[in-house]
C-alpha cells in the first residue's frame, strides 16, 4: 500500500533519480495507481511515435520561406520497419530543392517523436538563428517520416555547407518529447554517422535548455566551417576547448 507522506521513507531518495523507486506493493504486484501511471506514460510515448507532425502549424509558427518534403517511407508502419526508406528523400520532392550557395540549412524532421518537434523545434530554431546573423541560411525544410540521413540529400541538393537536422528522439517513459540535433559538414548521400556531431536530450523537463544547446550548436557550426569537418575529431576538440559542452555532446 502507498505510505502516507509523513512516513514515506523514500522521499529523500526520490530526489536523486527519475527511476520508479519506492513503489508500493500489493502482494507481489504493483498497486493500481502505479500500474495506471506506467500505462499512461507508455501511451504518451506511443502517441509521440505515431502522431502525425502538424506541419501547417509548424510553418505558421516559423514563418517565411519553408520547403516541405517527405521521405520514401509512405506510412508510419513502413517507416518503422524500413529505416532505409526513412533516410531517402521521396523522388517527388527532389525538384522542390533548388541548388543555391548557403552556409547552412536547418531541417526539422519528425523522427520518432512528432511531439518533441511540436513542443521544442520552433524555440530551438530561433535560439540558433539569433546566434547566426552572419550565416547565409537556406530556406527552412520540414521533412516527414524522416530519419537523420535524409538531411544529407537535402543539404546536397540545396548546396549547403552544413546541414543541421532537428529531429524527434525515440521517446522514453519519463520523457516522450526529447529533441536531438545532428550536424553534418558537406552533406552528401552516403555520409557515415561517424562524420556527424549530435546534441541530444533537448527538452524542458530537466533536459538541455535551448540556450545551452544553441551555444554548443553554433560553436560547432562555426568550427565546422573553419575546419571543414564534423564528426569524432570535431567532438574531441570541442570537449578540450569547452569542457562544459560535455553534457550537451553526450556520449554517442
Amino acid at each position: 500500500m502507498p505510505l502516507p507522506p509523513e512516513i514515506d521513507l523514500w522521499a529523500k531518495l526520490r530526489a536523486t533519480t527519475r527511476a520508479r523507486i519506492g513503489l508500493g506493493r500489493v502482494g507481489d504486484s504493483m498497486p493500481t495507481k502505479d500500474v495506471l501511471e506506467f500505462q499512461l506514460a507508455h501511451a504518451k510515448a506511443r502517441d509521440a511515435v505515431h502522431t502525425k507532425l502538424d506541419t501547417a502549424a509548424l510553418k505558421t509558427a516559423i514563418g517565411g520561406d519553408i520547403i516541405e518534403v517527405r521521405s520514401a517511407a509512405d506510412s508510419r508502419e513502413i517507416y518503422l520497419r524500413r529505416p532505409d526508406l526513412g533516410r531517402q528523400l521521396h523522388p517527388d520532392c527532389a525538384p522542390l530543392l533548388k541548388q543555391g550557395d548557403y552556409d547552412a540549412v536547418f531541417v526539422i524532421a519528425d523522427g520518432l517523436s512528432a511531439t518533441a518537434v511540436s513542443l521544442n523545434a520552433v524555440a530551438m530554431l530561433q535560439a540558433a538563428l539569433t546566434r547566426l546573423h552572419d550565416f547565409k541560411i537556406a530556406p527552412i525544410v520540414i521533412a516527414t517520416q524522416a530519419r537523420v540521413a535524409i538531411g544529407d540529400d537535402i543539404g546536397e541538393r540545396l548546396g549547403a555547407k552544413i546541414c543541421a537536422i532537428l529531429i524527434g528522439e525515440r521517446p522514453g517513459l519519463s520523457v516522450a518529447e526529447s529533441l536531438g540535433i545532428y550536424l553534418t559538414y558537406n552533406p552528401k548521400r552516403g555520409t557515415r554517422d561517424s562524420a556527424r556531431n549530435c546534441i541530444s536530450n533537448i527538452h524542458t523537463k530537466g533536459g538541455l535548455s535551448y540556450e545551452v544547446a544553441a551555444d554548443t550548436l553554433t560553436w560547432l557550426m562555426r568550427e565546422a566551417l573553419r575546419r571543414k569537418l564534423t564528426g569524432v575529431d570535431l567532438k574531441e576538440e570541442a570537449l578540450l576547448a569547452a569542457p562544459a559542452a560535455a553534457q550537451a555532446l553526450g556520449t554517442a
Binding site: 500500500m1 505510505l3 512516513i7 521513507l9 523514500w10 529523500k12 531518495l13 526520490r14 536523486t16 533519480t17 527519475r18 527511476a19 520508479r20 523507486i21 519506492g22 513503489l23 508500493g24 506493493r25 502482494g27 507481489d28 504486484s29 504493483m30 502505479d34 506506467f38 500505462q39 506514460a41 507508455h42 510515448a45 506511443r46 509521440a48 511515435v49 518503422l80 520497419r81 524500413r82 529505416p83 532505409d84 520518432l112 525515440r170 521517446p171 522514453g172 517513459l173 519519463s174 520523457v175 516522450a176 560535455a246 556520449t251
Partner: protein, 471 residues
C-alpha cells in the same frame, strides 16, 4: 544433370504439387526462419508462408553434419567460423552425428535426451546446427528442451541450478549520479533481486567514471556482505584499463556478435576478449567460482553493422554464443526487444526470438539469460513481457533483468520490474542462487512464508538501507 542442377536439387522439395528450390544452405536457413522484420529488411525472408514451410521441409531432411562440411561464412576470412570449426568436439557429436536436422528435433524431445545427455553433446554442437533445429521447433518445443538443459556457473554464488531464477539488478541513471544509482540498487535488494549481478550501463562511458561507479558498487557489496558480483558494462578495452588502475572488476562485460566483421564493429576480436579474461582471472575475486565474463547479444546486431553475410538474424545470433562459450562466461543474455521494430516488429516476434535465443544458448552450453524488453516504437507492451518472462521461467532461463518499475530511465526502454520477479517466484516456486537466498534470510528480509517483507515502515532492512543511502 549439370553440376548446377545437382546443387540446386540438394535444396529443393516438392510440396503440395509445387516444387520449391533454394539457392544455397543459408537461403534455406533464412527462408525457414519464423517471420521477422529484420530478415525482411535484409531481403532474406521467405516470400510466402508456403515457401517458409517448404524450406523447413528441406532443412528437416538435411544431415546435421552438413553444417560441419559447409561453412555459412568462409573459414578463411572469419575468425568466428574458425573458432566454431576448430573447437568442434567430434566425440561429443557422435551420439547425434547420424541424425538429420528433423531427426535431431525428435531426439531432443525424446525421453532419451535428458540433462546428462544434453550436457554431454553440447561441445559437439555448432551454432548453425542449433539454429537449424530451432527453426523446426514450436515455442513449446523450445521451452520443453531448454528446461532439460543445465548450465551451472559460479563466481560469488552459484547460478543455473534447477529450481532457481537469477536476476540482474540494473540501477541505471541518466547522469550516473552515485546516490541515484544507490537508491535504485537498495530498492532492488528489498525485492531480493541482484543475485546474477548488480550491473550498471554507464551513461558516460570512460575509465574514470567506471572507476567511480565500481568503487561505489563494491563498497555497497562489502558493507552488507552480499554474495553477488557487480559490473559496470563498459567496453572491454575500458575494463582492461580499469583493471590496470586497480579497479574492483568482478566481471568483464562485452557485447558480442556472430561474425568477425560485426565484432570489429563493436571494436573487439577474440584476442582482446582473451586478454581481458586473463586479467580478470588474475584478480582472483571469485569465492565459489572463477567465471569472470558477462556477454550481451541480440538478433539484429550483425545486420545493423552490415556484417551479416546474407545470414538470417537468428542464425548469426546463435554464432555469437560460440564466441561467448569460448570464454566460460558467468552470464550471457540476449537483449531481445532492445534493438527495435526494424528487427523484431511486435510482441509475437520478440517472444519467439527470446525463446529461440534462450534455447540455442542453452543447447550450446551457455548460461543464457534474457533482457525481457521492448522499446516504445515497437508494437509491444508490458502484457507481452508478462508472457515472455512467464515462458522463459518455464523454460528455466538462467536470469532476467530487472529495473525499478520496469522503466529504464537511462536507456529509455522497458524491461521487467522488481515486482515481476516476485510474481515469477510465487508462480513457479523458483528461488535465487542458494548463497544469495541464505543472505536474504540472514538479513531478515524474508518472512516466515518465505516472501520478501513488504517495504513498509516496519521493514528493518528498509530503514538500514535508506539511512545508509541518504548519508
Amino acid at each position: 544433370m549439370t553440376m548446377l542442377n545437382a546443387v540446386m536439387a540438394r535444396y529443393a522439395t516438392s510440396f503440395g504439387g509445387e516444387t520449391y528450390r533454394f539457392d544455397d544452405l543459408k537461403t534455406v536457413m533464412a527462408c525457414a526462419s519464423a517471420r521477422r522484420s529484420g530478415d525482411e529488411l535484409a531481403g532474406l525472408a521467405a516470400e510466402s508462408d508456403a515457401q517458409r514451410v517448404a524450406a523447413r521441409a528441406v532443412l528437416a531432411d538435411l544431415p546435421l553434419s552438413t553444417f560441419l562440411n559447409e561453412a555459412l561464412i568462409p573459414y578463411e576470412t572469419d575468425e568466428v567460423t574458425r573458432l566454431i570449426m576448430d573447437r568442434h568436439d567430434a566425440e561429443a557429436f557422435q551420439p547425434v552425428a547420424h541424425l538429420t536436422v528433423g531427426g535431431f528435433r525428435d531426439w531432443l524431445l525424446s525421453y532419451e535426451a535428458d540433462s546428462a545427455s544434453l550436457r554431454a553433446i553440447a561441445s559437439g554442437l555448432t551454432p548453425e546446427m542449433v539454429a537449424a533445429v530451432s527453426k523446426l521447433m514450436r515455442n513449446q518445443d523450445l521451452i520443453a528442451v531448454s528446461r532439460k538443459c543445465q548450465v551451472v556457473t559460479a563466481f560469488r554464488n552459484t547460478l543455473g541450478l534447477p529450481g532457481r531464477l537469477g536476476t540482474r539488478l540494473q540501477p541505471n541513471h541518466p547522469t550516473d549520479d552515485l546516490r541515484g544509482i544507490a537508491a535504485s540498487t537498495l530498492d532492488g535488494l528489498l525485492y531480493g533481486t541482484g543475485d546474477a549481478v548488480i550491473g550498471i550501463n554507464p551513461a558516460t562511458d570512460n575509465v574514470p567514471n567506471c572507476l567511480a561507479l565500481l568503487d561505489m558498487l563494491d563498497g555497497l557489496r562489502q558493507r552488507y556482505e552480499i554474495p553477488t558480483q557487480t559490473c559496470v558494462l563498459t567496453h572491454v578495452t575500458n575494463s582492461i584499463e580499469v583493471m590496470n588502475r586497480g579497479g574492483a572488476v568482478d566481471l568483464v562485460f562485452q557485447s558480442v556478435a556472430g561474425s568477425e566483421a560485426a565484432n570489429a564493429g563493436f571494436g573487439i576480436n577474440l584476442a582482446v576478449l582473451r586478454e581481458a579474461r586473463d586479467a580478470a582471472l588474475a584478480l582472483k575475486r571469485g569465492t565459489v567460482g572463477q567465471d569472470v565474463m558477462y556477454f550481451e547479444t541480440g538478433q539484429g546486431a550483425a545486420l545493423s553493422a552490415e556484417a551479416h553475410f546474407g545470414l538470417d538474424q537468428q542464425t548469426i545470433e546463435a554464432r555469437a554464443y560460440a564466441v561467448a562459450r569460448e570464454f566460460k562466461p558467468l552470464l550471457v543474455n540476449t537483449v531481445v526487444g532492445f534493438i527495435g521494430p526494424e528487427y523484431l516488429y511486435d510482441g509475437k516476434q520478440i517472444i519467439r526470438a527470446g525463446l529461440e535465443d534462450h534455447f540455442c544458448g542453452k543447447l550450446l552450453g551457455v548460461p543464457m539469460g534474457c533482457d525481457v524488453c521492448y522499446t516504445n516504437h515497437a508494437e509491444a507492451d508490458q502484457d507481452d513481457m508478462d508472457t515472455l518472462m512467464t515462458l522463459l521461467t518455464a523454460a528455466g532461463v538462467t536470469f532476467v533483468i530487472t529495473v525499478p518499475g520496469a522503466d529504464d530511465v537511462m536507456l529509455n526502454y522497458q524491461s521487467l520490474s522488481y515486482h515481476d520477479l516476485l510474481y515469477l517466484r510465487a508462480t513457479f516456486g523458483v528461488k535465487p542462487a542458494p548463497e544469495f537466498e541464505l543472505w536474504l534470510e540472514k538479513m531478515d528480509m524474508v518472512d516466515r512464508q518465505g516472501r520478501m517483507r513488504l517495504p513498509g515502515p516496519q521493514n528493518k532492512m528498509l530503514h538500514r538501507l535508506i539511512n545508509a543511502a541518504a548519508a
